[in-house]
């Protein structure tokens, strides 16, 4: 009976998250359309700049465009094109945005996933070692290293990666690691200080058994939530790293679009990243609640 109620609540939560994702996607799409529509220079045809056209002709051209691009019809056309997967054409690269995204997303996805994996492994490993060696020297040295890495701009990390010929995912890991480590460490320490863990230690249970059987299950829900947040951090870090390391991913594309004021491109890249982030956060939250077994 209780199990049924729990599964029903989880299902309801999942459906609510999905609806929320669709709604936020729609709001994001409309906001993107608004940005494109009201950006300076929107709707100015190149023909208007041709000196051979008379003032009357240019005016007629503008009126025709204005009629074609009234706000409701613009939103309708934008959303219907979006539903059909047509994201428009990049102003600067003169290529369909969809094609650019299809080419660039796997590059960034690969770097981000590998970078995140490396950062998580390093943070978890160091935090676990810290649980066994709770001396001031270890704590002071890891805190100093963490503070130093936190104080480095990701663009400087990217330049160092270029200089050392390190791969892009390694630079992403260096940026993400300090942001993860302090949280992971605090969560593990808090779980390790719980009375039941103390009791397990008093009964002589091995440190790895304590970690895997008692500490990790307790820290898992917030750690899973942190996994969702770390996706956003690593995608953010990907912009300067890919731009400076010359890696052809979404970050470099966004940077190029911003420099050339290619609004359709940057808005669609951002919309896509926002949807991926929302999906990752929702999945992490859902997994955390499922793991904790306490749906709200």
């Amino acid at each position: 009976m209780i199990e049924n109620k729990k599964s029903r609540n989880l299902l309801r939560l999942g459906v609510r998250r999905l609806v929320c994702l669709v709604c936020l996607g729609l709001v994001g799409a409309l906001a993107s359309a608004t940005l494109v529509r009201f950006a300076p220079g929107y709707g100015v045809a190149e023909r208007e700049l041709d000196p051979r056209w008379s003032a009357n002709s240019v005016e007629a051209l503008r009126q025709k465009q204005a009629l074609q691009q009234s706000l409701p019809s613009f939103y309708f056309h934008y959303l219907s094109a979006l539903v059909h997967g047509d994201l428009g054409e990049s102003d600067s690269l003169k290529r369909p945005v969809r094609e650019l995204l299809r080419q660039r997303f796997p590059v960034t996805g690969n770097s981000v996933i590998r970078g995140l994996g490396l950062a998580w492994v390093a943070a978890a490993l160091l935090a676990s070692i810290g649980l066994s060696f709770r001396g001031w020297l270890f704590e002071a040295s890891t805190t100093a290293l963490n503070s130093l890495l936190l104080s480095l701009p990701s663009a400087v990390v990217a330049m160092l990666a270029v200089h050392l010929r390190a791969p892009v995912f390694f630079a992403i890991a260096i940026v993400v690691f300090p942001r993860l480590y302090s949280y992971v460490r605090n969560l593990l320490v808090r779980a390790y200080d719980q009375p039941h863990v103390l009791a397990a230690r008093a009964r002589g249970l091995g440190s790895s058994a304590i970690l895997f059987r008692h500490v990790l299950p307790l820290a898992a829900p917030p750690l899973l939530a942190l996994l969702g947040v770390s996706f956003a951090i690593s995608f953010g870090a990907a912009i300067p790293i890919e731009a400076l390391c010359d890696s052809p991913g979404l970050g470099q594309l966004a940077w190029h679009a911003a420099l050339s004021r290619d609004l359709p491109l940057i808005v669609n890249v951002t919309l896509m990243v926002a949807l991926v982030m929302l999906a990752a956060n929702s999945l992490a939250d859902f997994a955390g609640r499922t793991f904790a077994g306490s749906p709200s």
Binding site: L24, V27, G28, L35, A39, P40, S147, L148, L150, S151, L152, P153, S154, A155, V156, M159, V162, H163, A232, I233, F235, G236, I239, P240, A243, L244, A254, W255, A257, A258, L259, R261, D262, L263, I266, V267, V269, T270, V273, A274, M277, L278, N281
Partner: protein, 268 residues
């Protein structure tokens, strides 16, 4: 205050004093070119040498420090003010307003911070005078950097909403605006301070990232970010290690800000 926090605060005070006194300490204006000595090493006239355009590096560093260290707190103040107003009102009123504010916060938090800045920067003209680029960069950070703080302030304001003293004030006919200013805001003040101090290093780092990418403070106006653009050429950097001073200064300042803020306030 611990010993380490006192040291960090002293270092910050020293750097701020240096920044304020920059005008009297400088050998030359930051944009003045000494065309006969480009890329010069340290000398008595130019203690940190000159850049490839012959401009005094120390002058550029001190002016850059002024730009970064005056405008990052200004942007942090703006973002904290926005977060304080939105978070307090949302927490106090609750209902649909709170839900809208939190949904907007969730939506913008889902977006990586730099992506958001790039979209807004792309909407604005790039070919602007250097002073305008400084204002744009920091105004953008101030206007867009409130999301994380709003959530915390809203949660804290929600806690205050149900307190006895607020119930008493409400029952004695206190109006919402007065409730907010006289009762809610003073109780949330430590949180506002904490959010303000947390935002400063974040904005300093963001400015550095944007300027290195060519989207922040424009030349010839110096900032820590655009002084670090030269790091792309590591061969000159290894020959002129004093060019690393902006990075060292940035790291010291950010670390000091991290140390100065007591951990209890961060935890709040």
């Amino acid at each position: 205050m611990t010993f380490l926090q006192k040291v960090a605060a002293s270092i910050l005070c020293a750097i701020f004093a240096l920044m304020v006194l920059a005008t009297f300490l400088l050998p030359a204006h930051y944009a003045r070119q000494f065309r006969d000595i480009p890329n010069a090493g340290p000398s008595s006239g130019h203690p940190l040498g000159t850049d490839p355009l012959g401009r005094d590096f120390l002058a550029r560093l001190l002016y850059g420090t002024r730009v970064s260290l005056l405008l990052a707190p200004a942007a942090a103040l703006l973002s904290t003010l926005i977060a304080a107003v939105l978070g307090s009102v949302a927490g106090l009123l609750g209902g649909w307003f709170e839900r809208i504010v939190l949904a907007a916060t969730d939506l913008s938090l889902a977006l990586p911070w730099l992506f958001l800045l790039l979209v807004v920067r792309a909407m604005l003209p790039l070919d602007v005078p250097p002073l305008v680029s400084v204002v744009i960069a920091f105004l953008m950070m101030g206007l867009l950097g409130w999301q994380a703080s709003v959530r915390l302030i809203c949660t804290a304001a929600r806690g205050v909403r149900d307190s006895d003293f607020l119930l008493l004030a409400r029952s004695s006919g206190c109006k919402p605006a007065r409730l907010l200013v006289r009762h809610v805001a003073p109780n949330l003040r430590p949180l506002f301070y904490a959010q303000f101090f947390i935002s400063i290093p974040l904005f300093i780092l963001t400015e550095a990232n944007l300027s290195i990418l060519g989207l922040g403070v424009m030349e010839p106006m110096p900032s820590w970010g655009n002084l670090m653009r030269g790091f792309e050429d590591f061969s000159t950097l290894s020959a002129n290690p004093w060019r690393l001073v902006p990075l060292v200064l940035l790291v010291i300042v950010v670390m000091c800000f991290q140390l100065v803020l007591p951990s209890q306030e961060v935890a709040q």
